[in-house]
C-alpha cells in the first residue's frame, strides 16, 4: 500500500536523504526519520508555532508542509541555531532573561525570532509581538520573551 517518496534535501547545511509517505509532514520527517526532535508538535494545524523551521530562509510551520515538498530545499531547525558550538545571542538572552519556563515553545520561538532579526535587526516591541503572534507560549505571558528578543537585537546591532 505504501508509495514512499525519495527526497534529497539539506538540513542545517547538511545533505540528507529520506523516504517518506506522501502524507507525512516535514515535521513528521524531521522528528521520526531524521531524529531532529527540537521542533515540537503542539497542534498539527499551524496554530501554535512550536514546529517552526525555515525553508530557503522563509519561516514556516513544518506541520503545514509535506516532507515530499522538501526536495531540493534548505531547511533550518533549532538544532542549527547555535553555530560551531557557540550559542546564538538569542539563545543566551533567553536563558539570561528567564524567557522560558517549561521550554516546549522555546525552539519554535527562537527559530522565529532569529528569522525576524535577520530581516529586521531593529524591531519595535510591537513588531516583535506581531511577528511572534503565531508562537503560542502558555507559561510566560510573553513579557520576558519579548525583552529577550529586544535585548538580543540590541546586542547584535552593537556587534555588527
Amino acid at each position: 500500500m505504501s508509495n514512499k517518496i525519495h527526497v534529497s534535501t539539506k538540513v542545517n547545511g547538511d545533505a540528507v536523504e529520506f523516504l517518506c509517505d506522501p502524507r507525512e509532514t516535514l515535521l513528521d520527517v524531521l522528528r521520526d526519520r531524521l531524529n531532529l526532535t527540537g521542533a515540537k508538535e503542539g497542534c498539527g494545524t499551524g496554530d501554535c508555532g512550536a514546529c517552526s523551521v525555515t525553508v530557503d530562509g522563509r519561516l514556516i510551520c513544518s506541520c503545514l508542509m509535506l516532507g515530499a515538498e522538501a526536495e531540493g530545499k534548505e531547511i533550518g531547525t533549532i538544532e542549527g541555531v547555535a553555530e560551531g558550538g557557540e550559542l546564538h545571542p538569542l539563545q543566551r538572552k533567553f536563558i539570561e532573561h528567564a524567557a522560558l519556563q517549561c521550554g516546549v515553545c522555546t525552539p519554535g520561538i527562537l527559530v522565529a525570532a532569529k528569522n525576524l532579526l535577520e530581516k529586521n535587526p531593529d524591531p519595535t516591541e510591537e513588531q516583535v509581538r506581531y511577528w511572534l503572534a503565531g508562537n503560542l507560549c502558555r507559561c510566560t505571558g510573553y513579557d520576558k520573551i519579548i525583552r529577550a528578543v529586544l535585548d538580543a537585537a540590541e546586542e547584535m546591532r552593537g556587534a555588527a
Partner: protein, 759 residues
C-alpha cells in the same frame, strides 16, 4: 549551624529564622536546564524513541452520551502493521471509586459520557498505520439524552448521567446529577446583613477553560506478561502516574517504573492520567513491545482536563464607609461526568479568603454533566470564586463611591483574622500587597476615553504534600540532588539555589536531577505551588543531614568532640575551645577523602511537608474598550503578590506573569463551546483562543516578601494565586470603562457590545 539546632528545627517543622542575609537565595543565575531547552536537546514526552517501538492511535466517541451496543475490531486487527487493539472490556473488572472513574475515562466500557471519550485503541508499526486502522473499528451506539450546562444538569427532568453516585451530604430530593453538597460558615449572617447600609446580590457564570499547555500528553509505555513495565511520560507527577496506571490495569505499583520527561506545561492538567494506561495495555497485548502514544491537540482539548464551569450566587453586606458586614455564596459547579472533579469545596474556601468578615455562609453543589472529566487547573476553584465575589465587591464599592483598594485594605485579612473557611491566619501578606499596588506608578497613569481601571485581590492556600529528596556528595565536593517534582518553571534552579545556600557552595556545584519512581520514596506531583516549597525544604533538610555527617567525619579526623565543630561556607570549622586549632576541612576535601573516612556521604529527607504559608495577591489592570465592536484591549497590567521569599526572582516574576496571562485569556476569550448535540465546537487552537504575544502588554510585577516561618528560606508557593484576580479585575475595568457590568465569562466582544447597546 550546630547539629542540635538542626535537629530541633527538623522536628518542629517551623519557625525557621528567615531574616538572615543570603548569598545565593534571591539571585538570578542561569537555570541548570537552560542550555538543553534553548538548543532543542531537552527531551519532552513525545521525544522519546526506543527500539522496536509501536505507535498508538485512539478511537473517540463522537457523542455526548451514548450506550455502547457493540464494538467490532476485527477489520482493524487484520489491517497492515497492526499489532494490538484494546477496548474497555479488556481492562480488569471490579474497581471502585476514584480508580474505577480513572479506568472508565481511560476506555469507556458500557457508556460514553462525553464527546471525545476513548472507546478503543490500536498499536501499529507506524503512526499512520495506527491512525488508518482506528478508522476500521466499528462501534454501534444507542444515543442517550445529554446535558452540558450546570444549571440545566441540576434541573428537574435533566437526563440522569449516573445513578448511585450521590454523596452522603446531598439533601434528599435533589437530582441524581448533584453528587456532592457542601455547606459551612460562621457568624450571624442575618445580623450581618441587617447591619449593612447596602446589601447586593447577583449571579455570575464562568465557562470551562483548558490548561492549554503547549505540549500534548505523550508517553511510551512498555508492559510484559509478567506484569513488569516501564513508562516514559510527560507528567507533573511520576508517582501519581504509577499509582493510577497500576490501579487501572491491576498491576503492582512497584513493578511499574515511571520516568518523567521534560514537561511542556501542566498547570494541573498533568497531575492525573488520561490515555497513559492505554499504552501499557496495548504493549502487553503486543508481546511487550513499547508503545508510543501521543495525543493530538484536538484530543487534548476534547478529552483532557478542562476546568469546571460554574453558576454562582453572591450576596454581600457593606456599610457606607466600606466595612463589609456579611457575605454569602452559593456555587454550582460541573466537572464532567464523574463526581468530585469540580473544585467546589476549594472555590467556596477561597471565596471570601481575602476578607475579615464577621459572618459568612457558603453552600456548594458538585454536579455531573456530559463533559470531559475535569482536572485541576492552577488554583482550582479560586479564579471562579474570585470572579463572583470580587466583581460584587467592586459593584458595591462603585455604588458607594469608595476606592476599591481602600475597601480591600479596610476589610483585608491579616495575621490573627479568623479566615472565612475557619482557621485563624498566621503571618500573611495581603495588606502589604494592597499597599504596594496603591503606591505603584501604574495607578498614577491618567485614563482616556473608553478606558477603565480594575482592581481585584486573589488567594491560594498553597500545599506541602508527600515529599522525598536525596542528595549525595561527589568525589570533587560537588553535590547531586535527586528530586521527585518535575521542573515546569525553573524549580531545578530554585532548589539548587537553596542547596548552595545551605551548604555554602557555589550554585553551579549543585546538580538537581528529576528522577524516576524507583529512585526515591513517593512524591506528590509538582502541584499546589509546592515544588520550590516542599522539595526545597526537604532538600535543605537532606543537606543538613549530610552536614551532620561531614561534621562528624571532620571531628573524628581531628580527634575532637563532634559537637565542637561547625559548618560554615562549605567547610567544617573547629569551634568553641578548638577554634583555630585546625584548618577548615572543605567539602571538596571531604568528598575527595570520604572513601577513607567511612564511605559515601549522602543526605535524605522525607516528609509530608508542613509549614505551608498562604499566598495573596492584588492585580490592577487598565483596559480600553472599543465602543463600536466591544473589543477589550489590555493597556497595562500589574501583579503584586507575596512570595514569602523569592528564591530565584526571575522565575517568581515568570509565575506572576504567566498566571496573569492565563487569567486574561479566561476573562476575555477562552471557553468550551458546544453544539446542540453536545459536541465540542472548538477543539483547535484556532478557535480555543489563548492569548498570543500581540494581545498582551508587558506585565509589571512587584514581589512582596512576607517570609513564611514554616520554610527554611521563608518560601510560600507562587504558582497559582496569579491566575485568580485577572477574571474580576478585567470585569471591573470593563465596568469602569463602559459603565456596564458583565457577569458571564468570557467577556467576548459580542457580549460587551451587547451590554453597551442594551444599557
Amino acid at each position: 549551624m550546630a547539629l542540635d539546632e538542626v535537629k530541633e528545627i527538623v522536628e518542629s517543622g517551623e519557625n525557621y529564622d528567615t531574616d538572615k542575609e543570603f548569598k545565593y537565595v534571591g539571585t538570578r543565575p542561569d537555570r541548570p536546564d537552560g542550555l538543553d531547552k534553548v538548543t532543542g536537546r531537552a527531551k519532552y514526552g513525545a521525544d522519546h524513541y526506543v527500539a522496536n517501538m509501536l505507535h498508538a492511535a485512539v478511537l473517540r466517541a463522537p457523542h455526548a452520551h451514548a450506550r455502547i451496543v457493540s464494538i467490532d475490531t476485527s477489520k482493524a486487527e487484520a489491517a497492515d502493521g497492526v499489532k494490538a487493539v484494546v477496548i474497555g472490556t479488556d481492562l480488569p473488572e471490579g474497581l471502585t471509586g476514584g480508580d474505577l472513574h480513572l479506568q472508565e475515562n481511560t476506555l469507556a466500557r458500557d457508556k460514553v459520557y462525553y464527546d471525545g471519550h476513548a472507546v478503543a485503541a490500536v498499536a501499529a508499526t507506524s503512526a499512520l498505520a495506527a491512525k488508518d486502522a482506528v478508522k476500521l473499528i466499528e462501534v454501534e451506539y444507542e444515543l442517550l439524552p445529554h446535558v452540558i450546562d450546570v444549571d440545566a444538569a441540576m434541573a428537574e427532568g435533566a437526563p440522569v448521567i449516573r445513578e448511585g453516585e450521590q454523596g452522603p451530604t446531598v439533601p434528599e430530593g435533589m437530582h441524581p446529577n448533584v453528587v456532592n453538597y457542601i455547606e459551612f460558615g460562621h457568624g450571624d449572617l442575618d445580623a450581618g446583613f441587617d447591619a449593612a447600609d447596602l446589601v447586593m446580590e447577583n449571579t455570575y457564570k464562568t465557562e470551562a477553560t483548558h490548561q492549554g499547555y503547549i505540549e500534548p500528553h505523550a508517553c511510551v509505555g512498555q508492559l510484559g506478561d509478567d506484569g513488569k513495565g516501564e513508562m516514559w511520560v510527560c507528567t507533573q507527577g511520576q508517582w501519581f502516574i504509577r499509582k493510577m496506571c497500576a490501579a487501572v490495569l491491576g498491576l503492582e505499583a512497584s513493578n511499574l517504573r515511571v520516568t518523567p520527561s521534560e514537561i511542556g506545561g501542566g498547570f494541573g492538567g498533568k497531575t492525573t492520567i488520561f490515555s497513559e494506561a492505554i499504552s501499557l495495555a496495548l504493549s502487553r497485548k503486543a508481546g511487550g513491545r513499547p508503545v508510543k502514544l501521543v495525543m493530538t491537540r484536538s484530543e487534548v482539548l476534547r478529552a483532557t482536563g478542562p476546568t469546571a464551569s460554574t453558576s454562582m450566587d453572591v450576596k454581600i453586606g457593606m456599610k457606607n464607609d466600606g466595612t463589609m458586614t456579611a457575605g454569602k455564596v452559593v456555587f454550582r459547579m460541573q466537572g464532567g461526568a464523574w463526581p468530585d472533579m469540580a473544585p467546589t469545596g476549594m472555590a467556596l474556601n477561597c471565596a471570601f479568603a481575602s476578607y475579615d468578615l464577621p459572618a459568612v455562609y457558603h453552600e456548594g453543589y458538585d454536579v455531573l454533566a456530559n463533559r470531559p472529566k475535569a482536572a485541576a487547573y492552577r488554583a482550582p476553584g479560586s479564579p471562579m470564586a474570585a470572579f463572583a465575589v470580587e466583581s460584587l465587591v467592586d459593584e458595591m464599592t462603585r455604588k458607594l463611591g469608595l476606592d476599591p483598594i481602600e475597601v480591600r485594605i479596610k476589610n483585608g485579612a491579616k495575621e490573627g483574622t479568623k479566615s472565612s473557611y475557619g482557621p485563624t491566619y498566621k503571618k500573611i501578606g495581603l495588606l502589604e500587597c494592597l499597599e504596594a499596588a496603591k503606591a505603584h506608578p501604574n495607578l498614577a497613569e491618567k485614563l482616556g476615553p473608553n478606558q477603565g481601571r480594575g482592581v481585584a485581590a486573589g488567594f491560594w492556600f498553597n500545599h506541602g504534600g508527600e515529599t522525598s529528596v536525596s542528595m549525595s556528595l561527589g568525589n570533587d565536593g560537588t553535590v547531586t540532588v535527586s528530586a521527585g517534582t518535575p521542573d515546569i518553571g525553573g524549580s531545578r534552579a530554585s532548589v539548587a539555589l537553596m542547596v548552595a545556600e545551605t551548604l555554602g557552595i557555589p550554585y553551579d556545584h549543585v546538580r538537581v536531577n528529576i528522577v524516576e519512581t524507583g529512585a526515591l520514596g513517593f512524591n506528590e506531583p509538582s502541584h499546589g505551588s509546592r515544588a520550590t516549597f516542599a522539595t526545597g525544604k526537604a532538600a535543605v533538610e537532606a543537606c543538613n543531614q549530610a552536614i551532620g555527617e561531614m561534621c562528624r567525619r571532620a571531628a573524628k579526623r581531628w580527634g575532637i568532640d563532634e559537637d565542637a565543630v561547625e559548618w560554615k561556607d562549605g567547610a567544617v570549622h573547629p569551634a568553641g575551645p578548638n577554634a583555630g586549632e585546625f584548618p577548615p576541612m572543605t567539602i571538596k576535601k571531604i568528598g575527595q577523602t570520604m572513601g577513607r573516612s567511612g564511605g559515601p556521604i549522602s543526605g535524605h529527607h522525607e516528609t509530608t511537608a508542613g509549614g505551608v504559608g498562604e499566598s495573596f495577591g492584588a492585580h490592577v489592570v487598565d483596559v480600553e474598550v472599543d465602543p463600536e465592536t466591544g473589543k477589550t484591549t489590555i493597556l497595562r497590567y500589574l501583579v503584586v503578590q507575596d512570595a514569602g521569599r523569592a528564591i530565584h526572582p526571575s522565575y517568581v516574576e515568570g509565575q506572576y506573569q504567566g498566571g496573569a496571562a492565563q487569567g486574561i485569556g479566561w476573562a476575555l476569550n477562552e471557553e468550551y463551546v458546544y453544539d446542540d448535540m453536545g459536541r465540542l465546537q472548538n477543539p483547535i487552537f484556532l478557535d480555543y483562543r489563548v492569548p498570543v504575544a500581540s494581545d498582551l502588554p508587558m506585565i509589571d510585577t512587584v514581589i512582596i516578601e512576607v517570609p513564611n516561618p514554616g520554610h527554611p528560606y521563608g518560601v510560600r508557593g507562587v504558582g497559582e494565586t496569579g491566575i485568580t484576580p485577572p477574571l474580576p479585575a478585567i470585569a471591573n475595568a470593563i465596568a469602569d470603562a463602559t459603565g456596564r457590568r458583565l457577569r458571564h465569562l468570557p467577556m467576548t466582544p459580542a457580549k460587551v457590545l451587547k451590554a453597551i447597546k442594551n444599557g
